[in-house]
Symmetry: C2
Subunit: 146 residues, 2 copies
DNA sequence: GGCAGATCGTTTGCACACAAACAAATGTGC
DNA sequence: GCACATTTGTTTGTGTGCAAACGATCTGCC
């Protein structure tokens, strides 16, 4: 049997700085910091919920989770905090009594209208180190591995 | 004053699917799922700590946090869980009594040696939808915005 | 020698994130 | 009609992730 050790070779070493997961986490951290600085009143997940409700109208809690890439347990916490601040309203679905239908409140819509522009500025600042071509490429490649 | 409204234009709308933060989060989620499936015995943060301790030898808890991109409160939790499983050892620094020096235990080193290859396979699977050129480009662009 | 500012570790509080287990409601096949 | 699988929402437990506040310690500078 021929092994790397016998040939005096080394197994390719694990370089943390070259792992996609580590780089992904650091890029996310920088983005989160920019977001928290510009939009201290909402988390990215909370803004995502408001955005989807604005786009799609009323949704059940589970549908909302699928649309915002959160599992059921997570979306419940996010919705609960938005409910506590009256940014969304929830009521049972009469046709399917398992469902809890969530929709935007007036305050929620007003806040989203105000923050949508800032949200796009956050994205722009996150991508600021790249030129326009690079931004398109990065978004396309990330989408492919998502 | 000329406004978009007066010209009948609409402000560019906020499309959640086009925001870098949302795409980053979904890419991270897919990577995390692959990692958890292949390496159920450790979290990515725990493997990162083992990797850095293997590369750099003993480090203080705070140094370790900087090397693994975690703040002080977070790295403490990660180190505590590794200590509970005896994968690392901690002892006070005699020269600087504020510091807690953390190093790999025998079991920690053995586990890391075993998992380093799997960790690289996780990175490869995460990047599987891309060809070799695209992988290089993605890592380079992500590094630029990190 | 002494003091101001920095660093280190710790704790608390809040917000995701997901697995697992559960009850209620719905739908399906027979 | 009825057993059975699925969907939905909920709870619990574990693990990040960061801000803020704190005491202990160290460092530099006067």
């Amino acid at each position: 049997m021929v092994t790397a050790a016998k040939l005096g070779q080394t197994a390719p070493l694990y370089r943390l700085d070259a792992q996609i997961g580590f780089i992904l986490r650091r890029a996310s951290q920088r983005h989160l910091a920019i977001f928290a600085d510009r939009i201290p009143e909402l988390t990215p997940q909370q803004l995502a919920v408001l955005a989807r409700l604005c786009e799609l109208g009323a949704l059940s809690q589970n549908q909302l989770g699928r649309e915002t890439a959160m599992d059921g347990a997570t979306v419940k916490g996010v919705v609960d905090r938005l409910l506590a601040r009256a940014l969304v309203v929830a009521e049972p679905d009469l046709r399917d009594r398992r469902r809890l239908v969530v929709r935007l409140s007036g305050e929620g819509r007003a806040l989203f209208d105000e923050l949508a522009q800032v949200g796009m500025a956050v994205s722009a600042e996150t991508l600021a180190p790249l030129d326009e071509d690079e931004r398109q490429i990065l978004l396309r490649l990330l989408e492919k591995i998502a």
